[in-house]
Symmetry: C2
Subunit: 146 residues, 2 copies
């Protein structure tokens, strides 16, 4: 039955999300589970801002989650490594459910972030970090204009 498999899939996914939260010391609260479902139960990874996530979560008849909790949760998920913060825009932080190392286009007109396919960028030379410092990450941002 189509409907049965849907329900089953939903329950399995929820279990997985609870496991994911627990694995990083985060209590699986109603709010965190709902946000995690929104972020992770998808085909494709995507980019978002706290504002866009908050709109997405708090639309329709769904039960509401406070903006403070959305901020708290996004911060907790970032610290836990479930999402990645992308510092590309002047005015607001973007986040990425794709936590693999990868690069971005940033469209200055539409303010949209797009992943660059990993094999589309090749760095044949990378500098050594200064003494006493380690490379935390390396990101290429290609800014686009019309």
């Amino acid at each position: 039955m189509i409907d049965l498999t849907k329900k089953l899939k939903y329950m399995v996914q929820k279990k997985e999300i609870i496991k994911k939260l627990r694995s990083t010391g985060l209590r699986p609260t109603k709010q965190r589970i709902l946000i995690a479902q929104n972020l992770f139960d998808r085909e494709k990874t995507f980019h978002f801002t706290v504002e866009s996530l908050n709109k997405q979560i708090n639309k329709k008849g769904k039960e509401k989650i406070s903006l403070a909790t959305v901020y708290n949760t996004v911060e907790a998920f970032t610290k836990a490594g479930h999402i990645k913060e992308i510092l590309t825009s002047k005015s607001k932080s973007y986040f990425d459910t794709n936590i693999r190392s990868h690069h971005h286009f940033y469209d200055e007109d539409s303010k949209e972030l797009t992943d660059i396919n990993y094999n589309q960028v090749k760095l044949s030379k990378v500098p050594h970090p200064p003494k006493g410092k380690k490379i935390k990450n390396l990101e290429v941002v290609i800014r686009l204009q019309k």
Copy 2:
């Protein structure tokens, strides 16, 4: 005379700065000239924030320039292409008097930006921009941690 050459050099530099401002349609006001001297009459290029520039400008017995004017001037210089904005930090904008295409280390601990020598990074493959878009710039940021 040491003192004479100094004074002469200063006058020549000031003339050059006035020319630079005029060349981009900016009136050479007292405030803009002073800020431009601070930014451009140096041996080396450097990175700054509006806050750090404002402190630098408004310290000592020097005549004061309002914070609004520092913001206005930095914006005007950026639009004119005399400086470059670097979007690397979450909370505040950095600016760069090095307007040549180059890459950066960003020290997450000290929040310090450092230029990466141009020949220290080699990109052997760069993606095509999406249809209808042009590449405005490409920047590599290497984030450092202890």
